[in-house]
């Protein structure tokens, strides 16, 4: 049973994070933007777990735990907001949500 370098995991997580960022900028649908945030969080989690493994300390895992919890809370509130948004203006497209625009 041979070994997998931690760096592979880290690179993978970096790639996922980058993709998340791209998605965040690229997508226009509020919900999908939300998802891209979740994607970034996941990437970070992967990095955490990898580090935890490398330094074989459990703190990384605990952190993942917290990240997941916070993500859950965020999703709850965020989606509630999204629903409000959808009710108040018929579009989920963030570019149509521009009351702040001058």
């Amino acid at each position: 049973m041979s070994a997998i370098p931690i760096s592979w995991y880290l690179v993978l997580s970096a790639v996922l994070f980058g993709l998340g960022v791209v998605a965040f900028v690229f997508k226009r649908n509020v919900i999908t933007i939300f998802m891209s945030i979740e994607l970034m969080l996941n990437a970070v989690n992967l990095a955490f777990v990898a580090f935890a493994r490398a330094r074989n300390a459990l703190d990384g895992l605990v952190f993942v735990f917290f990240v997941i919890v916070v993500a859950a809370a965020e999703a709850a509130v965020g989606l509630a907001i999204v629903i409000m948004l959808a009710q108040h203006r018929e579009s989920l497209n963030v570019e149509r949500v521009n009351l702040l625009k001058l």
């Binding site: 760096s7 690229f26 997508k27 226009r28 580090f51 490398a54 605990v62 570019e95």
Partner: protein, 169 residues
């Protein structure tokens, strides 16, 4: 080629594919499914990293609860194909390339970083597995306060969601 390495590559591939799909898909549901795919792959990777508990939590909470919530909302709002408006030039011309640049940058340096080259033996080595017991001990001893804090956070989140979703009489 040994089992873990194959597994790793398969999962990594799936994850990246999922992420790309998330970007390319125009149906929100498809994006959601792609994200679920990513999460599954990550869960397997966690198993490889010898963190079965985190893997399970990942699936239960992320795939099983959060993403279901997303799907639910999408179905509720019946969110159709996203329209391709293009109001912000900067997002188009600067954002995406910069995002990729960031991606490559971080990847590059992580690959070169000292901790990156640390070797981890794959999953299956039972001794290497982070035991759930230790994890819980850590969580409830050392990280008790953050734990409580998050519980309060969740409570607040629930209340917030309720207030937002309530029909204003």
């Amino acid at each position: 080629m040994s089992v873990p390495i194959i597994l790793f590559f398969v999962c990594a591939l799936l994850a990246v594919a999922g992420a790309v799909l998330l970007i390319l898909a125009r149906e929100p549901i498809h994006s959601a499914l792609a994200l679920v795919l990513v999460m599954m792959a990550l869960a397997v990777l966690y198993l490889l990293l010898g963190a079965p508990f985190v893997a399970a939590v990942q699936i239960i909470v992320y795939a099983g609860a959060i993403m279901v919530l997303f799907v639910f909302v999408i179905m509720l709002l019946n969110a159709g194909v996203e329209e391709r408006t293009d109001f912000s030039k900067i997002a188009k011309w600067a954002g995406v390339p910069l995002g990729f640049f960031l991606l490559l940058l971080i990847a590059h340096f992580l690959a070169r970083s000292s901790i990156g080259t640390a070797i981890a033996t794959g999953a299956g080595a039972a001794a290497e597995q982070a035991s759930t017991r230790e994890l819980s001990v850590q969580l409830f001893r050392q990280y008790l306060f953050p734990f409580e804090a998050t519980s309060i956070l969740i409570l607040i989140a629930i209340l917030g969601a309720l207030v937002l979703a309530r029909k204003d009489e």
